[in-house]
Amino acid sequence: MLSDLLSHFNYVVVILLMMTGLYVVFASNNLIKKLVGLSVFQTSVFLLYITMGKVKDGIPPIIEKSYDSHGDGHGGGHGDGHGDAVTHGADAAVKTAEVLYSNPLPHVLILTAIVVGVATLAVGLALVVRIREVYGTIEEEEIDRLNYAFDIDGIEEAMEEDAL
């Protein structure tokens, strides 16, 4: 049991982070804390992807000494995550057969996902700033209460208009 956990240490961390993040999103009442939870949650996914990109005994996928050869690795390949580094060109596969590279593709994907996460966070924070300006609070319960009061007032106003 313990050795299972230790041999899948990264995955254990991923699950812990994921659950922590989700719990914070759902349990906290403060809008900023929710965003923090969301970021933790997203980060766990980054770790998951990076973990799957590691090939046992693989070295960083930078082809040395051969900047001028065909297989200088732009685009990378879709490795199958089980141990072979599949590079794009057939030539490159022959040339680099004796060297085992880690799979670079998940890193590229995660770079994109990080950008997406940053954009989400920026929009979320901007919304929180505006909410604070308009509502004067960033506590969710308080905002719900204000919205509810607004609903009731709205109905009363409508009734007053009817009476007029």
Binding site: V25, Y49, G79, T120, V123, G124, V128
Partner: protein, 506 residues
């Protein structure tokens, strides 16, 4: 079959569809005058609609368009892959976008501060490009990227409703939290699929999974994450909590656009993953379809319809009705038969048209008289007859009156359920249609049968919605009738889509 565009345009149409709105969004953002930005947005959406129409023609008869981005051949590079399943959705999105842009010409005057209008159109185009990208791409991770591109732009657009109603901010925030969780769940699922198959190309993924035979544990987890993630995005019943707020408080043009397209694109992705990437004939997937999607669909139909009846805000009535309608589509998906899938798909298209028309009309009521409550609908039929007529046609179509598009899809759904022997589903469709009569009937009754309100002893004067608004909603209303009387075209498209889903012909 081939389209009407020739040569270069026809070959490059899949990528133009996404690149054009993205570039124009960047240009729109720096336009000093908001009318120029509007014109750019309008032309862009128009061109995209033409391209999408051409693509629909090109993909008829089980043709598949494949475009290798940057010359990197699939499965290594990113592939844009369009077949009978996604081409109609792309056409729906771009057609609705044209109408909503036309509509926004007037509606933004009342809703968006002048300084923010050019960025508004830019964000709209980004959301549009993201939705189209989600639909046309054949790469699973690319789907996630476009999903987030469109979502982030959508959060901004919903938040822009704040100058009308401050609750827009809160709704946008809730949408952001739930939408991001949904997208992250989706990307976790894609990650597991990548671990299992070593590829991100959806067609290649399907081949690899088919070779493996039975679903492994990893694929099961991937499937679960993808279904939940997309379920959040398409407002599947218990995951729909973001939807009413986002629809009710965003700017009116955006509400119509979201209601008609955003959930539909996510639903398309569900179709794509459940039926073409995974194999629905396997027990695990099949059981999920029957016991999860169909059952949740039916529960959603009931609960959301009941909730719609008790709303006082007309926008929320329609929003809850959207959740109920998603239930119909999921029921069609859950049946897993060609007839059921085809019915669900037709309903996807028809509901996009109908809900678009309803929300556009509702926006016009607000634009002229500030009406959002059902109780304020009194006498609207007399003071805004044209707008109210369009609203009425769409409302009848939503209920499913014979001769309208809604009838066709509901009847097909009934037929499919009956042939499947799912009599409880038949009952559910009939009962929820009656509930729809109640919640839409409330508005229609007030609008047509009650006298117009009086101000200072005189009846309110008649003020029709401006022409650009009317054109859009009438185009959709007429489409709702035409597709009800002559349903051959949407049904043919849906049959083609069902064939793609069940033929394993990805």
């Amino acid at each position: 079959m081939s389209g009407f565009l020739t040569g270069w345009l026809s070959v490059e149409a899949p990528v133009l569809l996404v690149v054009l709105p993205l570039v124009m969004a960047a240009i729109c953002a720096v336009m000093p005058k908001d009318k120029i930005a509007w014109l750019l947005a309008f032309i862009t959406t128009l061109i995209c609609a033409v391209l999408a129409f051409d693509i629909v023609l090109q993909t008829r008869g089980e043709q598949v368009l494949s475009y290798a981005l940057g010359g990197w051949e699939p499965p290594f590079g990113i592939e844009y892959r369009i077949d009978g399943l996604n081409a109609p959705v792309a056409l729906l999105i771009s057609a609705i976008a044209v109408i909503c842009t036309l509509y926004a010409l007037c509606s933004t005057d009342a809703e968006i501060e002048p300084k923010k209008r050019a960025p508004f159109y830019a964000a709209f185009l980004v959301a549009f490009a993201g939705l189209l990208g989600m639909v046309v791409t054949g790469d699973a991770f690319n789907v996630f990227v476009f999903l987030e591109v469109s979502s982030i732009a959508t959060y901004v657009l919903v938040g822009m409703g704040a100058s009308r109603d401050r609750r827009a901010l809160n709704s946008a925030y809730n949408y952001l939290i739930l939408g991001s969780i949904g997208a992250t769940f989706f990307v976790i699922g894609v990650g597991f699929l990548y671990m299992e198959t070593g590829t991100l190309n959806m067609a290649d993924m399907a081949d690899k999974l088919a070779v493996m035979g039975d679903v492994s544990r990893v694929s099961q987890v991937a499937f679960a994450f993808i279904v939940v993630g997309l379920g959040l995005k398409l407002a599947m019943f218990p995951l729909h909590l973001w939807l009413p707020g986002a629809y009710a408080y965003s700017p009116t043009a955006i509400t119509a656009f979201l209601a008609a397209t955003a959930t539909k694109a996510a639903l398309y992705l569900l179709f794509r993953f459940v039926f073409t990437v995974f194999d629905p004939s396997l027990e695990f997937i099949g059981a999920t379809l029957t016991w999860l999607l169909a059952v949740l669909g039916v529960i959603g139909m009931f609960v959301a319809s009941l909730q719609a009846i008790f709303q006082s805000d007309a926008r929320r009535v329609l929003a809850f009705s959207s959740v109920a309608q998603v239930g119909y589509m999921l029921l069609g998906v859950g049946m897993g038969t060609a007839l059921g899938l085809s019915a669900g798909y037709v309903h996807l298209i028809n509901h996009g048209i109908i809900k678009g028309a309803l929300f556009l009309a509702l926006g016009a009521f607000w634009y002229r008289y500030g009406i959002v409550r059902v109780s304020d609908f009194k006498g609207l039929g007399k003071i805004m007859p044209w707008t109210m007529s369009a609203f009425t046609i769409a409302a009848l179509a939503l209920i499913g009156v014979p001769g309208t598009a809604g009838f066709i899809s509901k009847f097909q759904l009934l037929d499919a359920a009956a042939q499947n022997g799912w009599w409880w589903a038949v009952g559910a469709i009939v009962v929820t249609s009656i509930l729809a009569v109640i919640y839409m009937g409330r508005m229609l009754e007030a609008a047509w049968l009650q006298p117009a309100p009086e101000v200072n002893g005189k009846p309110v004067e008649k003020r029709e919605a401006p022409l650009p608004m009317l054109v859009g909603m009438w185009v959709l209303a007429i489409a709702a009738i035409v597709f009800g009387v002559v349903p051959s075209w949407p049904v043919e498209l849906a049959n083609g889509a069902a064939q793609v889903m069940l033929g394993g012909g990805l």
